[in-house]
Structures are given as structure tokens and as C-alpha cells.
């Protein structure tokens, strides 16, 4: 999938998608179909299936792919696709592509997406819209878990690209007579970003394994992975922009698109504080595994 995306232009896809609607409506769906995305069922119970879905999302994130690949994979059991929303603020990336999709809230309740209420595009979220939904009914938690974990992998991919660009920029850019990479202040920022990314990678791997083994019981592990994702995204993107300087803000530069890629994912359905509170709730109820597990109310 990585190489298919590279052959198709990598981040050129997102840059072109802003002015060429067919990139998102025709080109990318065809590309994903050829890459075999439709054959992956993250709900099969086979760890290889959800791992394949995770790797596809990571590859998509790495080029800031302008397409709701997480929702397409998470919707493998339902009609066409499935998107996780905040019921009070259902801002969604690529909602215009979601005709016939379903929406879930973080508790698993479901509804149909019947269109976009209005365009909500901004500079920081150029493919956003507000989902128009119908009545909600109770549903399963599994789709929420699959959606959340795949979204973490997508953001991981974009952060890895942002760090790789920063490393290259630090080697290439000469200021005050030396490459930026010679300055310890820059070296230390890169080292800390690398540590964050390593920590994110291992915990999203664990989250995938936990879902494959425990299904609906993996909620706490997956919300914990989301906490790590949100914190890593904030820290790594801050470092990447700082190292790049002004050029990193420009739409000609890939970093500007990697930065936008996970923006809605980082705010919806809950940002850092909300996700921490969610994790706290979940730990109270279900506990938290470790060498010395925290016991939850339901496990004592």
C-alpha cells in the first residue's frame, strides 16, 4: 500500500485534491480498491486482518491521504462506511463522500449519515463538513474501538513522516554557517520527538493486539492509546514546525498537509482532556492491566 501511494504521487494527492474533486471521488477509491483494501475485515478476530488495516492507515497517514480510509475499514461490517462523531459537534473530514454511511458516537450508538448540513471547511480542515444524521439507536462498542485504534495508526503515520521531514530539514538547512542538526537545541527536540513516536508506536501495537484478543474488553487499552496519540501529535508537530520555520506552514510543503491530516481526529469526539477523563472513567470501571493491575469496580 505504501508503494502504491508513493507511485500515485504521495502527498501530491492531497495537494491536488483541494482543486480537483475527482482525486477523492475517483482516483483514490480506485487506488485503494486495487491495493485490496476491500478484502480487509478488521472484525474477523484474526490479528493479521486488523494489523493489515492498521498498516494501511499508517501508510495513508504518512502521505496525508485525503480520504476517510479509517471509516471505510471500520465500516467493513456495515453498509459502506462508518464514522465516529461527537453527537453535539459532528464535524467530520470528507463527509461529502459519506452518502450511505453510518455514524457512531463514542458509546456505540448509531445513526445514518444523510448528508452534510453545511460546508464547514476551514484552512486547518479543508475537507471538513458537519454530518447530518437521523435518529440514534443503541449499538455495539466494537466499531468505536476499531475506528479509534485505526485512527491512531493513521496519525502515527503522519507523525512519522513529519519527523522524517524534520530530520532531513535539520541536515540540509544551514544557518549561522552550520546545518541545524549541529545545534544541540535542535538535536534535543528531535530526540524527544523520536521518544514520543517510539512510545506511540509500541502502545498502538499493543492496542491492536488487545483488540484482537479481548474485543469489546479492550476499550481501556484503546482509549489509553488515544491518550498517547493525542500527546504525541501535539509534541511532535510542534517540534516539526519549529524546526522547519516558516516554510513548514506553506501549502507547498508536505508538513502543512501532515499537520492538517490528523486535526479533526485530534479534536473529535474528544480532545486531550476529554480523552483523559474518558480513560479515567474506563479505568474506574474496568481496571488497567499492568505488572500490578489497577482493579476496576467490575473486576474486584
Amino acid at each position: 500500500m505504501s508503494s502504491a501511494l508513493r507511485r500515485a504521487g504521495g502527498t501530491d494527492l492531497v495537494k491536488r485534491a483541494v482543486t480537483e474533486p475527482t482525486v477523492r471521488t475517483v482516483e483514490i477509491p480506485a487506488l485503494l480498491e486495487r491495493a485490496g483494501l476491500g478484502d480487509i475485515n478488521p472484525y474477523s478476530g484474526d490479528i493479521n486482518e486488523i494489523a493489515a488495516a492498521a498498516y494501511a492507515c499508517r501508510a495513508a497517514g504518512a502521505v496525508a491521504l485525503p480520504f476517510p480510509i479509517v471509516g471505510q475499514l471500520a465500516g467493513a461490517q456495515s453498509a459502506l462506511g462508518l464514522v465516529l462523531v461527537s453527537r453535539t459537534q459532528p464535524v467530520v473530514d470528507h463527509v461529502d463522500l459519506m452518502t450511505g454511511w453510518q455514524a457512531v458516537d463514542r458509546f456505540g450508538s448509531r445513526t445514518d449519515v444523510v448528508g452534510a448540513v453545511e460546508s464547514a471547511r476551514t484552512i486547518s480542515a479543508p475537507f471538513a463538513g458537519i454530518a447530518k444524521t437521523t435518529t440514534w439507536s443503541e449499538g455495539e462498542i466494537s466499531p468505536v474501538l476499531v475506528y479509534l485504534v485505526l485512527e491512531c495508526w493513521s496519525v502515527l503515520g503522519s507523525l512519522e513522516s513529519a519527523l522524517a521531514l524534520s530530520v532531513q530539514h535539520a541536515k540540509d538547512r544551514v544557518q549561522f554557517g552550520s546545518p541545524l542538526s549541529r545545534y544541540q537545541a535542535i538535536q534535543f527536540q528531535i530526540a524527544d520527538a523520536y521518544v514520543e513516536l517510539g512510545g506511540l508506536e509500541v502502545i498502538v501495537e499493543q492496542a491492536v493486539a488487545s483488540y484482537a484478543s479481548h474485543g469489546a474488553q479492550s476499550l481501556t487499552d484503546i482509549v489509553a492509546a488515544r491518550v498517547a496519540m493525542l500527546e504525541a501529535a501535539e509534541k511532535c508537530l510542534r517540534v516539526a514546525h519549529q524546526i522547519h520555520g516558516a516554510v513548514g506552514f506553506t501549502d507547498e510543503h508536505d508538513l502543512a498537509w501532515l499537520s492538517r491530516h490528523g486535526h479533526i481526529a485530534r479534536r473529535s469526539p474528544l480532545g486531550v482532556s476529554g480523552t483523559l477523563a474518558w480513560a479515567a472513567e474506563s479505568i474506574e470501571r474496568h481496571g488497567f492491566d499492568g505488572l500490578f493491575p489497577v482493579m476496576g469496580a467490575g473486576r474486584e
Partner: protein, 380 residues
């Protein structure tokens, strides 16, 4: 593997339950009975061939791989390191002697380490050589069949109770290449001219010491490896020490225990602080998984130094964050554990103090960041 690891963990916890006093929070409390507990515990571990289980059977081990060694490291640290100071002999002094020692040195030192009978200290840092170890000035001058050592070491953990010192001294000085001319000596601490001045400190009793060498005679038979090749051996020491202490395991235990300890009072903990606790649980898990990534690489025989440095940075920062959160949750009584009989409160106070040194000891966090950045930024 999972079963074997689980069985080992269960066995170690049973042994800890049985042999450690309920109020044990470490062997460096200033109370001599805690030190005696550590000595007893080491002897028992040795008897069960668990003290040096990763060593070859010939030297008192079980040839256990890095995963089982990790279980031991985790369980010991989570239970306030009942091996006391002996973990150093187990983790790196022994393995380095195995690799570079003469047959005589191996038979003199290895059985005693694996029997849990000897404490080693590490004579590396000096007043003018901390992170920049190559600046060390302690000299070793040939004298008859041996050497005379003169100089000073500092921050030498456990020197006041150690039987032996793994010493770096300069046998030659080449200002253009300070890494050359360093030699490793194995020195008995009861040698005439060897003296120790303990330094009371925040990190607890017996940890920090100054060590003075005044014409200390060391026979040539106690040179480890070749004369002048000490730097290479030290780099190996650091490799053996790579994973260091399993700091995340004690964080894991104390974060879980503080929740149980508070019971209903947990609801009175401000929500912001409870969220910091959650974040700490997540970061503890991340550190553990980063450690496992290094262990997996060790088991496969190819460790990436960048991953090691990343783990070390993550776990030392974690230790300090957790120490602040625990202290805040426990409240002011953490600063006066005499107010309570609670072992947890005493453990939190100990943890806060010890964590202070996490980003300094065994190579500062700046050295780790520098090593990591160099690995990442190296030309392709």
C-alpha cells in the same frame, strides 16, 4: 515462553512474600536490619540459581535468556530491590569479567558474585570527570609486579559496604586522545591506602561516596583485559547496563497501590490530579513496552542503540513525573512518613528522592539525548 515467564514471576513474588519483612522499602534505609535482609535474600536467590540466572551454568547461572532476566529485574525493582547493591555485580561486573577476565580472575570472582557473597562498587566518576568520563585523572603507575593507584573517585555508590571496586585509572596520558591509556583494575577495598568518605544525600544512605586512593597497590594479576584498553571495556559495561533499572515496574506498582490505598478517599482527589494519574499509567505502559522492544532485539541479537536511548529517556522522565504525582496524591504526610505506619507513604517518599537522580545517574539524560540525536541524524 509466556508460561515460563509467568511461573518465574509467581515464584519470585512468593519468595518475596515469604522472605521480606512486610515493611521493607529497600536496603539503604540506615537500618542495619534492612541491609541484612538484602544479604539473606541474595543468598536465597543464589541458592535457587536465580541471582545470576542469565549466566552460564558453569558460573552459577541457568543460561536464561533476556526475557527471564527482565522478569527478575522488574520484580526486584518493584519490590524495592531486595538484592541491595548486588545487582551491579550480577548485571555487568560478572559478565564483563566473563568476557575479559583471566581464568584466575574468573574463578576468583564469578562464584562469589553468583553466590551472593560480594558487593562491588564502580570507580568511574571523578571530581573533574562526570558525563565526560575520558577526563579521568586517577593514575596507575607500574611498581614491581603491580601498580600504585593515586587519585580520587566520587559519586561511588555503595563504596562504604563494597568488598571490591571495578576501577578505571590512567596508565598513560595522551592529551590528543584521552580515551586511550585507561585501564581497568579490580581492587580490594581493604587494600592499604583505599579510603571512603560517605556523602549524605537526597538519594539515601550509602549511595554516594568519595573514594580516595593513596598509593594503593594492585597486583598486575588484577588488571582486567589489556593495559590501556579500558575505554573499550567501559563501552561494553554500558552495553550490559543498557536497560538499567526497570524503573517502570515500581511506577506501575505504586500507581496501582495508591489507588487501592485511598479507597473511598479517591473520590476526593481533584479530577485534574486523577487525570495526571491516568496519563502516568499510560506512560508507564509505554515505557514498559519500549523496554520490551529492546529486550526483543537483545533476544534476536541486534540491539539498536537509538531504541535503548529512547527507552532510557522515556523511563527516567516517567519516574520523575510519577514521583511528583504520587507525592501529590498522598499529600503532605508523604514528607513526614513518621506520621503514619503506611509502607506506601514511606515508599512514595523514597521514590521521590530516588527519582531525582534518574536523569543524572548512569549517564545523564543529555548524554542519552545526544546519543539518540546522533543516531537519528547520522548521514544516511
Amino acid at each position: 515462553m509466556q508460561t515460563e515467564a509467568g511461573e518465574l514471576r509467581t515464584k519470585l513474588r512468593a519468595m518475596i512474600d515469604e522472605r521480606l519483612p512486610a515493611d521493607f522499602v529497600g536496603s539503604f534505609t540506615g537500618d542495619s536490619k534492612d541491609l541484612a535482609t538484602a544479604e539473606d535474600f541474595c543468598r536465597q536467590l543464589a541458592e535457587d540459581k536465580l541471582l545470576c540466572m542469565a549466566w552460564p551454568e558453569a558460573y552459577g547461572g541457568q543460561d536464561a535468556g533476556p526475557w527471564l532476566q527482565t522478569i527478575v529485574r522488574e520484580e526486584m525493582w518493584a519490590h524495592f530491590e531486595p538484592r541491595g547493591a548486588q545487582y551491579m555485580g550480577v548485571n555487568w561486573v560478572g559478565p564483563v569479567i566473563m568476557r575479559h577476565g583471566t581464568e584466575e580472575q574468573k574463578s576468583e570472582h564469578l562464584p562469589r558474585i553468583s553466590a551472593g557473597e560480594v558487593i562491588w562498587c564502580q570507580g568511574f566518576s571523578e571530581p573533574e570527570a562526570g558525563s565526560d568520563l575520558s577526563g579521568l585523572r586517577t593514575t596507575a603507575t607500574p611498581d614491581g609486579d603491580g601498580y600504585r593507584i593515586n587519585g580520587q573517585k566520587v559519586w561511588t555508590s555503595y563504596a562504604s559496604i563494597a568488598g571490591w571496586c571495578f576501577l578505571l585509572a590512567r596508565t598513560e596520558r595522551n592529551p590528543a586522545d584521552l580515551r586511550s591509556g585507561i585501564t581497568v583494575f579490580l581492587v580490594k577495598t581493604d587494600s592499604p591506602g583505599f579510603s571512603v568518605r560517605p556523602l549524605d544525600s537526597l538519594v539515601g544512605h550509602m549511595h554516594l561516596n568519595e573514594v580516595f586512593f593513596s598509593d594503593v597497590y594492585v597486583p598486575a594479576s588484577q588488571v582486567l583485559g589489556e593495559v590501556g584498553q579500558g575505554w573499550r571495556i567501559v563501552m561494553e559495561v554500558l552495553a550490559y547496563e543498557r536497560l538499567g533499572i526497570a524503573r517502570y515496574s515500581k511506577c506501575d506498582r505504586l500507581l496501582a497501590e495508591v489507588r487501592t490505598h485511598l479507597g473511598e478517599e479517591w473520590n476526593d482527589v481533584p479530577s485534574g490530579l486523577r487525570e495526571r494519574w491516568v496519563r502516568a499509567l499510560v506512560r508507564t505502559r509505554q515505557s514498559r513496552l519500549l523496554a520490551y522492544r529492546v529486550v526483543a532485539a537483545q533476544a534476536a541479537g541486534h540491539v539498536d542503540p537509538a531504541d535503548v536511548a529512547a527507552y532510557r529517556i522515556a523511563v527516567t522522565v516517567l519516574d520523575q513525573e510519577v514521583s511528583e504525582i504520587l507525592t501529590e496524591i498522598v499529600g503532605p504526610k508523604a514528607l513526614s512518613p513518621g506520621l503514619t505506619e503506611s509502607k506506601l507513604v514511606r515508599a512514595v517518599e523514597d521514590h521521590w528522592r530516588y527519582a531525582l537522580a534518574g536523569t543524572v545517574s548512569s549517564g545523564t539524560i543529555e548524554m542519552q539525548r545526544r546519543a539518540l540525536a546522533r543516531a537519528i541524524l547520522a548521514p544516511a
